[in-house]
Amino acid sequence: MEPLLDYAWVVVVLPLLSAVLITAFGKQLPGKGSELGIASLAISWLLALGIAWETFVNSPIEPVERAIDWSPLGGGFIFELGILVDGLTAVMLLLVTTVSFMVHIYSREYMRGEVRFTYFFAMLSLFTFSMLLLVVSNNLLQAVIGWELVGLCSYLLIGFYWEGKSNQDAGNKAFMTTKFGDVGLIVGVIVLSAGMFSMTDTPFNILQINEAAAAGQLSTTTVVLGMLMIFLGCVSKSGQMPLHVWLPDAMAGPTPVSALIHAATMVTAGVFLLARLFPVVAQSQAVMATIAIFGVITLFFGGLLALVQDDLKKILAYSTISQLGYMVAAIGVGGYTASVFHLFTHGFFKALLFLGAGSLIHAVHSNNISDMGGLARAMPHTFWTFIVGSLALAGFPLTAGFFSKDEILIAGDLWAGAGFVTGSLVYWVGLAAAFVTTFYMARACFLIFAGENRSHHAPHESGKLILAPLMVLAVLSVASGYLLSPFSPEQPNFETWTATPILDEEASYPFAQESGEADAEHSAVGVVGDGVLASGTVMAAEKEGPVKVLHGVPTWHPDLLAMVLVLFSLAVFLAYRFYGKGLPERDPTLSMGRFTDVLVAKYGFDDFGYRYIVVPVRDRLSAAASYSSNVLIDGVVAGVGRATKNAATTTYRVVDQQVIDGSINGAAFSAAWWSEKLKRIQSGDVQRYAGVLVAGTIVLVLAFAAAR
């Protein structure tokens, strides 16, 4: 099994190669470069599939780490450039390459005729490469490089239609908001690795950091400060409140890019990093509580915003924010497997929904669901794939979203059982948000597919290259859930696949030691035997000693199943009442008084940000910076320049022209003057020479005689 895992770097490098080749030769090729992108992603995808299979059937596996030392700076530590392949990496490789492969195929049809078609494909490949680089990296510095590249590519692609000012603004907003979090990430990486310097030559190595953290070798300050700073990066990148503001605006980019950003390459980066560093996260209750609270707030309030949106892509964007909230909250309540599982399934159905939305938008030439309606008959394939995606997003039983989302709720319940209030929050708020999710997706589906056609176009089904990815993703949106479901209790399953050996062996959740008051019902035996719906990593508090992580068997959990079904039916029923007959005169979600106002204003985050961050920065800070640059620094520079010029001019006039040239000219003139005088001696009269010779001889003789 090892040889295949060793070649994980090929998966990463191929998209980069494709990006470079497309940039260099894309325009000359018959497919304008798209075939290069699709081919390289196909190979990457096959390889990722092989790696996923190897890690899955042999799970849980020991991580395979291959790295080269690369120390441009020296200085007593080694900067590695390498890969770390374990179950988590394999999951992410599979997710990223699958979604990216589908998006590449889809874009070939969807972006046909675009002016910057080749550029678009180059950027898609580069985007994929950046995310893969982050996913396979075995050290935090390399991860930061991938992270920043992801940010750059998202900026370039969100602002793809850069002719429009609002699109430029959206790109800038995404870049600057995530950049704010990146500062936190970098600080966090430095703090974490600073604690590692005394222990190892490779302080950025993720495995070593995780091991040191699990062994309790990192100080509490390091863990709390480092992880909170890294979490700040995740908040901005993974669209957690209050730094989610860039995500809805990112819809300015082309729809395939939205699919890529929301499913595979951008927003998942933050959750992935938290999962990757989960052994460190698990060291501090403060960190886990913070993460859980941010997640809970985001999953509920982010979802509410989707209720009042008319733009289909924005509805999906807010649903992404909400689902990311679930993932982050799951990390905060110890639901490592649940979080990664939801990340995995969400990637498929969110990509499906966005690509389906693109197909719909193509048909009616509008983003707004109020302009659609009655599309079920005109676009049957888009219809059923979109419905599958919506069901998965809403967590309808037996779809992938059901298994993964309920896994998160169960994780919350278990955490609550261990005596943490955040667990209950995740459980109940998560359940409420599931109702909201179902309602707004049902609203969107009824408005899009039921009733009369309100668009001014005759909608028609999209081409094969658009439908094929939709169908593949629709199958995956259902099938991927069965990796961890009560239907497949035997191992290996998703839980052993992504299991972290470090957490298995070492004492985890050290802060949970004194939670002995946890009720016996949720003790280790109790949890596993209690009929959990799909218990992944079961965390059990014993009376004494540290909390242990157990591998549980997914089982049914009837009370949760019942609640989910009731909430689902209620939400769909309400949505049918309101929207089943087409667009109502007054949209109920827009007729809720102050509540609607708050939602339409997006809780005022954008206004607040504009008024208290954008305006002061633009009008005061930028003006001051501009003044200091244009007047102060430029003044100094110009002054230095002027002084230099004056000095040079003076030097030229005095030293060069007068002293040096004068002395040289003077020498020449004096030579000319003297030669004019002296040449008279050379008379050519030989007898005069002889006379002078004789006279000189006589003088010399007399002189010698006198001297004697």
Binding site: K679, R680, Q682, S683, G684, D685, V686, Q687, A690, G691, V694
Partner: protein, 103 residues
Amino acid sequence: MSPVGPLLLATFLFCAGVYGVIARRNAVLVLLSVELMLNAVNINLVTFQNLLFPDDPAVTGQMFALFIIGVAAAEVGVGLAIVFNMFRNRASVDVDDADLMRW
């Protein structure tokens, strides 16, 4: 025998030669004056040989004098050839006319 007479004669001849070289205009006479100086030297050589090394069987002074006579004959040959050429080109043997080497 007293060397005073021959030395006075040599001095006179040399001074006459110098005067001739400096003052005469005719190139042939300049050559003649050069011969006078050479012969003054010859007289000096013979005189001092007899005065200083009268018993030297090698008679170096006389030998030198003979060599100088030979060399002088060759020199006159070359000099007269130059004078002939000069006359042929300029129709004159006045040394004042030969001033090509001036500035």
